[in-house]
């Protein structure tokens, strides 16, 4: 829906007044609440609680979601104005971080596929920041070949009985609900016997165990379902058509992962070539003293520039109603290349200083870069690996036949 400039100006004035009345000055430039902020023992101060409550009640934490389910009911243009006004006063939106996967992935999928009752039950608490969601997709033996998943959901008449194990469930230990792909028919070909189930995490049949990663952080869990239960009306979308529901959710996910280093918001980090100069030094012409490294750094910087220009071009084309093809998969892979190259170069630039783990002898920014290098290896794996994105591009965009990918 297109808004006239006068309408947008009126909305801007309304947003500005509301923010002035409701945003606590103490939270200026404080950033987002960390994942799992609702966990016991994690301190969230009263102002942060109050801000989250008023933003949630207004629906502006999920500004474009329908108002009848607790969203803001705003147009995209109004949402952009709201974002500008919040940025202007240093306010951030805590709801997406608190909801974990609720705002970026599960919520939009429920809005796409849910019944009226399901929307009424699940959407408003996400909007208010009261409920956190995780995603149960991957299993120990079903990664890239996701459709081979084996977690079972048996129809027990008045409930579903669920048994199996999920892995890489981000934030599962803080989540209230899990959007899980489960097998509901073992007699059908593998993609046709899958359903999308909404499973409460707050039951004795569900346990989680954090996974420690090579970077030292633990953002993921293993999640075990041992005779867990789901109500009959917790099936999202039609029975045995969960593959389509699940793919839609992944599209919502990819749309949130195409940023790439240097193209996101927030303060611009020091450019990599400036960091390189401090570690490597320069020659009499002002060039980086290691010319081989210089050549590889400039390639990374140019790749990042091309990525940023493409992000802008896609946005401009979308505005001009030009068909934007293929954007998500190519941008995810491009972001991966740019980000991982950056991280590898940072380690190389810092030499020994890039090889610390913790403690004395290494600065915080050095340790951060090392951890980011390790953590960044996930970028080409999660959300559909680099190779899976290439399958999607070759098959769905270029129209090449699918013969080597069985399923």
């Amino acid at each position: 829906m297109a808004d006239s400039n006068a309408d947008l100006d009126a909305f801007r004035a309304e947003a500005r007044t509301w923010l002035e009345d409701n945003f606590p000055a103490s939270l200026k430039d404080k950033g987002l609440a960390p994942w799992g902020a609702r966990q016991e023992g994690v301190h969230v101060d009263d102002d942060a609680r109050a801000w989250q409550a008023s933003l949630g009640a207004k629906g502006w934490g999920t500004p474009t979601w329908p108002a009848e389910y607790g969203g803001g009911g705003l147009t995209n243009q109004q949402a952009r104005v709201l974002q500008e006004e919040m940025a202007r006063i240093g306010a951030s939106n805590p709801i997406p971080a608190v909801a974990i996967m609720g705002v970026t992935m599960v919520g939009p999928t429920i809005l796409d596929y849910g019944t009226k009752e399901q929307k009424q039950r699940h959407i408003p608490p996400i909007c208010r920041g009261e409920i956190a969601w995780c995603i149960g997709y991957s299993e120990p033996n079903s990664g890239s070949d996701l459709a081979s998943l084996s977690t079972r959901a048996e129809d027990k008449g008045d409930y579903w009985l669920i048994n199996g194990q999920k892995v890489w469930t981000s934030g599962a230990n803080a989540a209230d609900w899990c959007g899980a792909l489960v097998r509901t028919d073992t007699s059908k070909p593998k993609r046709e016997g899958i359903s999308f189930m909404m499973v409460s995490m707050k039951q004795s049949g569900v346990t989680t165990r954090p996974i420690q990663l090579i970077s030292g952080s633990s953002p993921f869990c293993e999640t075990f379902f041992n005779d867990a239960r789901a109500e009959k009306n917790d099936l999202l979308g039609p029975l045995n058509e969960g593959w389509s529901v699940g793919k839609r959710l992944l599209q919502h996910e990819r749309a949130s992962q195409t940023g790439g280093r240097g193209s996101g918001s927030g303060p611009a980090p020091k450019p990599i070539h400036e960091i390189a100069k401090t570690y490597v030094g320069t020659d009499e012409q002002g060039r980086l003293a290691d010319l081989d490294l210089r050549g590889r750094i400039v390639e990374q910087v140019m790749a990042a520039a091309a990525h940023t220009l493409t992000t802008r071009r896609i946005a401009a084309e979308a505005k001009g109603n030009v068909q934007v093809s293929a954007a998500q998969s190519i941008m995810k892979n491009s972001a991966t290349i740019v980000g991982q190259l950056h991280a590898e170069l940072m380690i190389e630039i810092m030499g020994n200083q890039g090889l610390g783990w913790e403690g004395e002898g290494f600065s915080k920014s050095e340790i951060d870069a090392t951890r980011a290098w390790l953590g960044g290896k996930a970028q080409s794996i999660y959300g559909g690996s680099y190779e899976i994105q290439n399958n999607i591009i070759s098959k769905n965009i270029l129209g090449l036949p699918e013969t080597t990918q069985k399923g």
Binding site: M302, T310, R313, I330, I393, K395, L398, T403, T404, Q405
Partner: protein, 378 residues
């Protein structure tokens, strides 16, 4: 593709229709086989003039349409796709830009309308060695009377045999390698002392070596300020690089489309070969690069149209990224076609040969990576 205006869409459609019906690769092949000295067909050039393509970046006051470089890029993309041979790039983009950037009022009035109506074919005669080096100008210009006398040689001059006016950077002071001391001269190609030698290049296009022996140039043919030609020359080269980026994008995109078509039709081991992941993934990665390159090319052309501060940076980005993609794409074009790609009868070789010439012109990938780093200060 950038969000285009209605006029730009019309011009792109016209260019697509015209090149595919009037100037397909077959036309270029026939010209090559006919060993035409000018390396383009007169009727091709005449049609371009009639369609107004020679005036795209020329202000209306001098007979052009002043539609800008992004619009010119749309045309060059299509001529690049079909390997259409003509002096369009050398004269209507590079030649015309030399006058709009550095020309005085009299020079603009004298030359631009003639470039637009095709009675002048202008070209830049810059290089003196095998590698791009705009500050390496050595060709000597010595003061004589109220003008200058030129002595020296230029190599690999684009459309050098067909050109009627040469834009010649020459050294009026200092030594090769100095940025100051370069002056731009306009030299009609029929001036006494100018001798041209046709080069037969791998891409079968029009190039010449040109010798200057005691060539007299009057003062009114100095383009811009004496000794201060390097600034406008750099501006001119960035326009050439950005425009060439569009041509390269077109050439590489055609190579991509030919390859994709082959992957969808060729059968081996009882199946369409595009179903092999070893090929499908390479196609997917090439497609990703293709989209990234388009953004760089359009950004550089737009920066020129908007007179942006980062034009140099974007021109180098565009030329380097388009060069990298075209290099890889032209090799994959041959490789994925296998044996048929090696035959002269098939068009792949024409694209490969053209690719290397375009890559090398106005600085190759390595040149522009180095320049980009220098612009950013490292």
């Amino acid at each position: 593709m950038a969000a285009l205006t209605e006029e730009q869409s019309m011009i792109r459609d016209q260019a697509q229709n015209w090149t595919s019906s009037e100037s397909p690769v077959k036309k270029f092949r026939d010209m090559r086989d006919g060993n035409v000295e000018a390396a383009f067909l007169p009727e091709t050039w005449q049609s371009m003039i009639e369609m107004g393509w020679t005036g795209i970046i020329v202000p209306e006051a001098y007979g052009g349409s002043d539609l800008g470089y992004l619009t010119f890029g749309l045309i060059l993309e299509e001529t690049g796709r079909n390997l259409t041979a003509s002096p369009l790039f050398a004269s209507a983009l590079v030649g015309a830009s030399a006058f709009t950037i550095a020309g005085n009022e009299e020079q603009k009035q004298g030359w631009l309308p003639r470039i637009v109506d095709g009675s002048t074919i202008a070209t830049l005669a810059l290089e003196e060695g095998p590698r791009h080096g705009p500050e390496q100008v050595a060709l000597k210009a010595e003061k004589s009377g109220n003008g200058y006398t030129l002595n020296g040689s230029k190599t690999f001059v684009m459309e050098g045999m067909a050109a009627t006016a040469l834009i010649v950077p020459a050294r009026t002071s200092g030594k090769p390698g100095d940025q100051t001391g370069i002056t731009l001269f306009i030299v009609p190609a029929d001036t006494g002392g100018v001798s041209r030698h046709r080069l037969q290049t791998v891409d079968s296009r029009g190039f010449a070596n040109i010798d200057f022996a005691n060539v007299e140039v009057p003062a009114e043919n100095i383009l811009g300020e004496v000794d201060a030609g390097y600034g406008p020359l750099t501006q001119l080269l960035d326009r050439a690089r950005a425009g060439m980026g569009a041509e390269m994008l077109g050439t590489a995109n055609q190579a991509f489309d030919m390859t994709l078509e082959y992957l969808k039709t060729r059968k081996q081991f009882g199946q369409i070969i595009g179903g092999f992941q070893a090929l499908g993934h390479r196609a997917a990665q090439l497609f990703t690069k293709k989209e990234l390159v388009r953004s760089c090319v359009e950004a550089a052309l737009t920066a020129i149209d908007e007179d942006a501060d980062n034009t140099q940076e974007l021109a180098s980005l565009s030329k380097a990224k388009a060069g990298e993609f075209m290099h890889q794409m032209s090799n994959e074009l041959i490789q994925m076609h296998g044996g048929i790609g090696m035959t002269d009868e098939f068009d792949a070789g024409l694209y490969l040969k053209r690719a290397r010439v375009l890559e090398n012109a106005f600085g190759n990938q390595a040149y522009h990576r180095d320049r980009y780093a220098r612009i950013l200060g490292f």
